[in-house]
């Protein structure tokens, strides 16, 4: 591993730590003042209520939106730095770029894809709720649609990203 690659891997680890830490902040804040939308043994019971009473799904969408948004932004900060090597030190850029092809990095790219997809579709849902003044029933259905689309496109994209190292 060259110095540039080592620095990139360390920076990536720092990004992951920041993202996990942010996740804890979101969850613990939800537990304090989010009206019960937090991870505990009551979650399964709460989600088994009648659909009309399940506004909690929308709150979970909010937390997931925040978390995925932060994760993508944190990676973006690192990504600007590593792309800047292209102009500042092309040799170092090519070294760092090799890391992108490693299996663990490809796995993080799959995670990044899922985060981007969820944030995109849920973001479009939020826009639709505002613009078309949708009620809670329709917005809940759209949320299910966003999650299904994220899962389908995420799995398909991940298969393509992982294919070169799996075969």
């Amino acid at each position: 591993m060259t110095l540039a690659q080592l620095l990139f891997v360390l920076a990536l680890a720092a990004v992951l730590v920041a993202v996990v830490g942010f996740g804890f902040v979101v969850i613990s804040s939800a537990a304090r003042r989010g009206g019960g939308s937090y991870l505990d043994t009551g979650l399964i019971r709460r989600l088994q209520r009648y659909p009309e009473e399940r506004a909690e799904f929308n709150r979970w969408a909010f937390y997931a939106h925040r978390f995925t948004g932060f994760a993508v932004f944190a990676f973006l900060c690192l990504h600007i730095l590593d792309i800047s090597l292209y102009a500042l030190a092309p040799q170092a850029y090519d070294e760092v770029h090799v890391v992108y092809g490693w299996t663990p990095m490809r796995l993080s790219e799959c995670a990044l894809l899922f985060a981007i997809l969820f944030h995109t579709f849920n973001g479009l849902r939020i826009l639709a709720i505002d613009v078309a003044d949708l009620g809670s029933r329709v917005s809940r259905r759209l949320l299910i649609g966003a999650v299904v689309l994220t899962a389908l496109l995420g799995l398909g994209g991940s298969a393509i990203i992982m294919a070169p190292v799996l075969t």
């Binding site: 942010f22 902040v25 979101v26 804040s29 009309e52 009473e53 506004a55 925040r66 948004g69 932060f70 993508v72 932004f73 973006l76 900060c77 600007i80 730095l81 792309i83 800047s84 292209y86 102009a87 500042l88 092309p90 850029y93 090519d94 770029h97 090799v98 992108y100 092809g101 490809r106 790219e109 894809l113 981007i116 995109t120 973001g123 479009l124 826009l127 505002d130 003044d133 009620g135 809670s136 029933r137 994209g157 393509i160 990203i161 070169p164």
Partner: protein
């Protein structure tokens, strides 16, 4: 507050439409709202397109300096990346800004963290601009 629609028994039910009370459209709030929504809409195309080009149609292992040099020969891709950089930094910084607002009750600490966020975002944005400008000149 305008009155939300009620059922005959006078009850509100989940799914009823509530008319949103007219909020004084303060300049800052409206600007923030529009910035996040408009950049978000742009980013759906810019970021997904970027991800498709660098991971789906081209394997990520092929995106070396040659790949960038070839792509940045075209004005369209330079414009694309400039627009993506600008929209993403605005959108991301705005999102983290409001998260800091929510999770930092202490006023002084909040201002410090938001100043730090603005400094880091501005530095990275300028760095990105320099890299794109270097590809042009």
């Amino acid at each position: 507050m305008s009155t939300p629609a009620r059922h005959k028994d006078g009850e509100f039910r989940p799914g009823d439409r509530y008319d949103v009370p007219a909020r004084a459209a303060g300049g800052g709030r409206l600007f923030y709202y529009l910035t996040v929504r408009i950049t978000g809409l742009l980013l759906t195309i810019l970021v997904l397109g970027h991800f498709i080009v660098t991971h789906i149609t081209t394997d990520v292992a092929e995106t070396d300096t040659d790949f960038i040099a070839r792509r940045w020969d075209s004005v369209l891709w330079l414009l694309w990346d400039w627009a993506m950089l600008t929209a993403a930094m605005l959108h991301g910084a705005a999102g983290v800004w409001i998260s800091i607002e929510d999770y930092t009750p202490d006023h002084e600490k909040r201002r410090r963290r938001q100043r730090l966020l603005v400094s880091i975002s501005t530095l990275l944005f300028v760095l990105g601009l320099i890299v794109i400008a270097a590809a042009i000149f």
